[in-house]
């Protein structure tokens, strides 16, 4: 038996302390230290389509949509405390509004997408308002039901094309515009939300998550703040939906599919909950993976679950937290 035990010690790199704690950036090394991870992320995403063929570029397009949903899930769950499983409703409302505008008025896709983004977000927010009084699992259940409810209404009443959907919609001019539109929106959304959560309004969001009673006692109407948060989150989802409808040239009830609600959660777990960039990375890893496993048919779901469970068990912190730790800290083993 070995009678000495070892333990791992971790220290912050001094450059991290200098740059983040004290904001004392006075050399290009420190600048580079801060810029490097962000630059790798942005340049990596932007060069990705150049290296891939047409098929995988389309996969990137749908991965970008999932990334937006994962971002909106992470914002609501980790910064406002609303575990929202209604991502499919954001997609569906954005998609249908954009599709209807395009089919009935013949407006171009580039006009329909922004209109549908905003009006889809308004619709999603209004639908979720009654549920905002609920917390935790109760909000999750209600928000999970809403897309199913919307799908059943469309099928039962045969409105908006019923089960057939609306086809022959205008599509975006070419695949390069498609892929760069979504990538640029993802990057802008990510950095905008990272900034938002550290602004005063973001602090109120986090306070609501930590303790809504004390926020009420501070004279703040928590429902109005939750409405703002849901609106911001559903903007992202509705944009994704409107965008998808003009990639496929078709909208149908599959826009309310459960995938849009569930995959973002998986992406968040994989990337690291609460890091915002993590869920985006998770979506860009998970969507191509599930595409690559398409050959396995139903077995794909098993492999997919296996990966998820391994993450939950072995790396619950997620990929981004792991990489951040490796970047910011050094570790060594010492004898106890």
């Amino acid at each position: 038996m070995v009678d000495e035990t070892r333990r791992k010690k971790r220290f912050d790199r001094s450059i991290k302390v200098r740059t983040e704690g004290l904001y004392a950036i006075n050399s290009w090394v420190e600048m580079l230290y801060l810029i490097l991870p962000r630059a790798v992320f942005i340049i990596g995403l932007l060069t990705l389509p150049l290296l891939l063929d047409m098929y995988w570029q389309k996969v990137i397009c749908s991965a970008g949509t999932y990334a937006l949903l994962a971002l909106s899930f992470d914002l609501l769950a980790e910064y406002v405390g609303l575990v929202c499983l209604g991502g499919a409703f954001f997609i569906g409302s954005g998609g249908y509004i954009s599709g209807l505008l395009n089919a009935h008025f013949g407006w171009s896709a580039l006009l329909c997408i922004p209109i549908a983004t905003i009006s889809g977000a308004i619709l999603s927010t209004i639908v979720l308002i009654p549920a905002l009084r609920l917390r935790g699992i109760y909000f999750a259940i209600i928000s999970f039901m809403i897309p199913m409810f919307a799908r059943d209404i469309i099928v039962a009443l045969s409105v908006f094309g019923g089960t057939e959907g609306i086809s022959a919609l205008g599509i975006l001019p070419n695949v390069w515009i498609e892929v760069y539109l979504i990538l640029i929106v993802v990057i802008i959304a990510l950095f905008a939300i990272r900034r938002l959560v550290n602004e005063d309004i973001g602090l109120v969001f986090q306070a609501i998550k930590d303790n809504d009673q004390a926020v009420k006692a501070s004279g703040i109407n928590i429902t109005s703040y939750k409405i703002k948060a849901v609106f911001i989150a559903s903007l992202l989802g509705s944009f994704g939906g409107a965008y998808l409808s003009h990639i496929y040239g078709w909208v149908g009830i599959s826009l309310f599919a459960m995938d849009f609600s569930i995959l973002p959660i998986a992406a968040s777990v994989m990337g690291g909950m609460g890091t915002l960039a993590g869920p985006v990375l998770g979506a860009f890893a998970l969507t191509p993976l599930s595409e690559a496993l398409r050959g396995f048919g139903q077995l794909r779901v098993v492999i997919y679950c296996f990966i998820l469970i391994s993450f939950i068990v072995y790396k619950p912190e997620g990929l981004l937290n792991y990489f951040q730790r490796k970047y910011h800290q050094f570790e060594h083993w010492e004898k106890v």
Partner: protein, 251 residues
Amino acid sequence: MEKVPLLKVENISKAFGGVQAVVNVSFTLNKGDILGIIGPNGSGKTTLANLTTGFVRPNRGKVIFNGCDISKTPPHKVANLGLTRTFQVMRPYHSLSAYKNLIVPLQSPRVRRTRAGKLGDTDAVAIDILEEIGFERDARVPYKIAGSLPLGYLKRLELGRCFALNPIVIICDEIFSGLSMSEITSLIPLLEKVQMEGVTLVMIEHRLRELFRLANRVMVMNFGQKIAEGTPQEVMNNPEVRKAYLGRERS
């Protein structure tokens, strides 16, 4: 000093199912008072605080604050009128740093109204408030995550959260509980300072000795009812109160 009734609670009652938490309690709070509310565990003190601040709606009775009935007003509106409270169980925003905790109340309509124009940099205002409530001893404390702060700081933070609102009344729910003697003695001057600045205090408390030093009026509750009210001296000598605290006297 002329007595101006600020808060008037009239015949308020609340039952949770079969439990009569508060029964027909009335009291008046005058401007500049420090009113102590004492009573054994489960006597309805915290429920009374919840009722006055709108967190719980009364079954019967009225709460009149500054001339308007607030018994059906939601808690955030009550806070915006200037009637704030601390919580018995500390509720900091544990994932935010201490000074960011105070940025949250600065977003309320009341602060935006009363400090209009002066609220440029919320960070600086929050740090100022932290200094006022005694966080200045260690310059790093304001930047620490609130979840990692010791209880003494959390109580001050809770007071600071109320104080940020420019309140008229603060209801302190057991602010001394769980603190060491030295922490309490350092907290008392802060409460006195708050009162000197024109804030009226209601203190729900179990630490009688410290409370009697501060309060000018004390109200005693037992089983949801008010059993006595008066100066600390009167209350201490009241046989009803002795019975509630010490049990029946044997002769």
